[in-house]
């Protein structure tokens, strides 16, 4: 009789083949989503969604989908509770996920046709906007007289970049703002007898002071380039493309690193990293376990970071610290600081459009909801009355200069969203911007070589995004 026993050789071959196939299958990702038509304007005329006391939908349940906001999650729970208290027929369920997982899960939910209703979004959802997966909020917005009062908000709720994602539709109903900040360790300044940074500082002032606050033993530096704001992210705020303001062309066709401003940025990296050695070397950054890295450890006198750091981790630091505007590149040239804005989008596939809008609107323009957002200190509320209140400008724990968050957000001009402009620019930052800056600080690349390389590699990424955008309508 012929034996059917599996030999060890066969068993090993099948084991190896199965393991390899399993690994490959893990890369298959989510199945492709069904083709979707662009979002249509709501069929029904928006109800009086602006009035939370008058429910637009009854018996509805909506899911609020967000990445994990850490301590600020509580504010979302408070907002949901308050909303349901005012609108007993609408239940709100909060879902929080780690940042990276949020967008993958959202893509899967969109593809499955079961999206969450309201999504706390940044520019990561631009692809969903272009694919018609998001609801156009303009009809709702136009029907709400309160939202049209521009003076009631710290920013333009119809901002072409952050609210419209460069399209002709309104997708994002803004609820808060973020700005870059120069933080400083007051104890180290006091010890050195140096005056604190002011909002009139230029980078030359910064350089001079940083050099004085740097010790020769390598135990203390004058400046640290970013923390939660990625290490080179702040440069985006300084590198303003020349044709950026040509609204409605929200997206330029090319990068302009090879410009006086772009070159100046690279010179700053070189002078402080290579010449003065007053900046914390990039290869040492990962060695600090504290929140805020070298700055958090009290080893860097200053840091350029996002204003959310103030409410998120710095408020617990064991030394006195303060906040001010990031320095001007040159005297008289202050880059626009009203940069990224946070808000909510609504899935086109939601079964509760009116209730979803009502909730998004509540978060953006209700005084109580905005108060919760302000108290959480993750973002600065957009409702001016709340943003300029003492509770937000000067909370009990506020560091000197904390009101910079609001002042910087209210600088005129459309928002600049250069940081995660799209997933393609994440790629650009990872592959080119960050490594190039590191090489400038180590002397492996000159500033001239750096800006040339960044334009060569950066322009295709800008162009790619621009090509994906629908043609502006006349």
């Amino acid at each position: 009789m012929k034996s059917h026993r599996m030999t060890r050789r066969t068993f090993l071959m099948w084991s190896a083949a199965t393991a390899g196939a399993g690994a490959l299958a893990a890369c298959a990702g989510a199945p492709p989503p069904p083709a979707q038509q662009p979002a249509e304007a709501p069929q029904e005329q928006p109800t009086a969604a602006s009035a939370p006391a008058e429910p637009a939908a009854t018996g509805a349940s909506i899911e609020y989908f967000s990445y994990d906001l850490g301590p600020a999650n509580e504010s979302r729970e408070q907002i949901a509770d308050k909303f349901t208290e005012l609108n007993p027929d609408i239940q709100v369920k909060n879902t929080f996920l780690p940042y990276g997982d949020t967008w993958n899960k959202l893509a899967a939910l969109m593809a499955a046709g079961t999206p969450p209703d309201v999504i706390y979004a940044d520019f990561s959802v631009v692809n969903h906007a272009l694919e018609g997966n998001l609801l156009d909020l303009k009809p709702y917005f136009d029907a709400d007289a309160d939202l049209a009062v521009t003076d009631a908000f710290t920013v333009d709720l119809l901002d072409p970049v952050m609210a419209k994602y460069g399209t002709q539709q309104l997708y994002n109903l803004l609820i808060g703002t973020w700005v870059p900040i120069l933080y400083f360790n007051m104890d180290l300044f006091d010890t050195a007898g140096e005056p604190y940074p002011t909002e009139n500082w230029t980078f030359d002032d910064l350089r001079a002071t940083a050099a004085k606050l740097t010790t020769a033993d390598g135990e203390q530096w004058g400046i640290q380039w970013g923390t939660t704001l990625d290490q080179t992210g702040w440069t985006w705020w300084l590198q303003k493309p020349a044709d950026f303001w040509a609204v409605p062309q929200a997206f330029p066709a090319k990068t302009t690193w090879d410009s006086p401003e772009g070159l100046k940025v690279m010179e700053i990296y070189k002078s402080m990293g290579l010449d003065d050695k007053s900046a914390v070397p990039f290869d040492l950054m990962g060695g600090f376990q504290q929140f805020g890295a070298a700055f958090g450890a009290g080893k860097s006198a200053m840091v350029l970071g996002g204003d959310w750091d103030a409410g998120w981790g710095y408020r617990d630091l064991p030394f006195k610290w303060g906040m001010t505007f990031i320095p001007m590149i040159n005297e008289g040239y202050r880059p626009n600081l009203n940069t990224t804005q946070s808000g909510n989008v609504i899935a086109a596939g939601t079964k509760n459009k009116d209730a979803a809008w009502q909730y998004a609107r509540f978060m953006a323009a209700d005084e109580t909801a905005q108060g919760y957002i302000g108290a959480a200190a993750y973002e600065t509320p957009v409702f001016k009355k709340v943003a300029q209140s003492d509770a937000v400008m000067k909370p009990d724990w506020a560091a000197p200069g904390y009101e910079t968050r609001v002042k910087a957000a209210m600088l005129p001009g459309p928002s600049l969203c250069p940081y995660p402009l799209s997933t393609n620019l994440w790629e650009f930052s990872d592959k080119y911007l960050d490594p190039t800056v590191v090489q400038v600080t180590t002397g492996e690349m000159t500033p001239q070589e750096a800006v040339a390389l960044l334009d060569k590699e950066g322009t295709p990424h800008y162009q790619q995004l621009k090509d994906a955008m629908p043609e502006p309508q006349s």
Binding site: R8, R9, A28, G29, W103, D283, W426, D430
Partner: protein, 316 residues
Amino acid sequence: MAESERQYNHPRDDHNPRPRLRERQREAIACALFITPAVIGFLIFTLVPLGISGYLSFTNFNLANTPALVGLANYREMFTDDLWWKSVQVTLVYALSVVPLWIITSLALALIMNQNLPAIRLYRTVFYLPAVLSGVAISMLWVWLLNYQTGLVNQLLKMIGIKGPNWLGDYNWALRSIIIMSVWSVGWYLPIWLSGLQAIPTELFEAVTVDGGNWWTRLRHVTLPLLSPVILYNLVVNIIWATQLFTEPLMMTNGGPRFATQTYMLYTYRNAFQYNKMGLASAMAWVLFVAVLALTFLAFKSSSMWVYYEGERKRG
């Protein structure tokens, strides 16, 4: 034979002239029932996604769009991408370093653990423990150990007058650090080696000893030949694992500094889930699959020269 005939001619089996076939059918049905869950799982969770990833590798899928065919564009982009080549280089260096290290150190450890020593079971458990720990937890532990300022490793080096390197932050040390860390978990292989070692008949060792052989002779002429099928298995599995290194560089260095630890799988992940280039990532996964398949094939082809199967007749 007579016993078999008696069984076949049993009066109860008169209606069925081929009872042996019925038994085989029953076995086949039982076999099918047992393997069906695994086959269904393989089809749904492996083969179908594998097929989908093959299709996606020829599309521009970005997680949000409807995939459109783009021909070989993803493969062209991959082969012209400097960072792809860099990830190949990092992965090859890692694999060529750790595969021999894993096999040699784990085999040496197993030879020691196979001795009849006091508290040997405790030692076996201790060495196997890292295998049951999460890769993330191990990575975080090593991040602390290798911290250039406060880490235990550099503190110990400092005590003997050596200034330790910036293990994870230095371009030249980062990958070496991950290689060193990888050797820490060789205990995973212990049960496999031990089962192989304990399957070797003791008479063979005794025969070598009677012939005047020492421990090296026993290792060279008995242990290694009889362990060669296990070595082959470990070699194949190690190649697959080494080429799929992901968790440690993600957790410990995030692929840095300046891509010094950006392995093939990490770069594939980045393309898929950070840059939303799912089509490109699928193409990368397929290229890795083919490469690993080729390496595995080579390992098996070479096995006829160095793997000894007891009871297997030599061909030719």
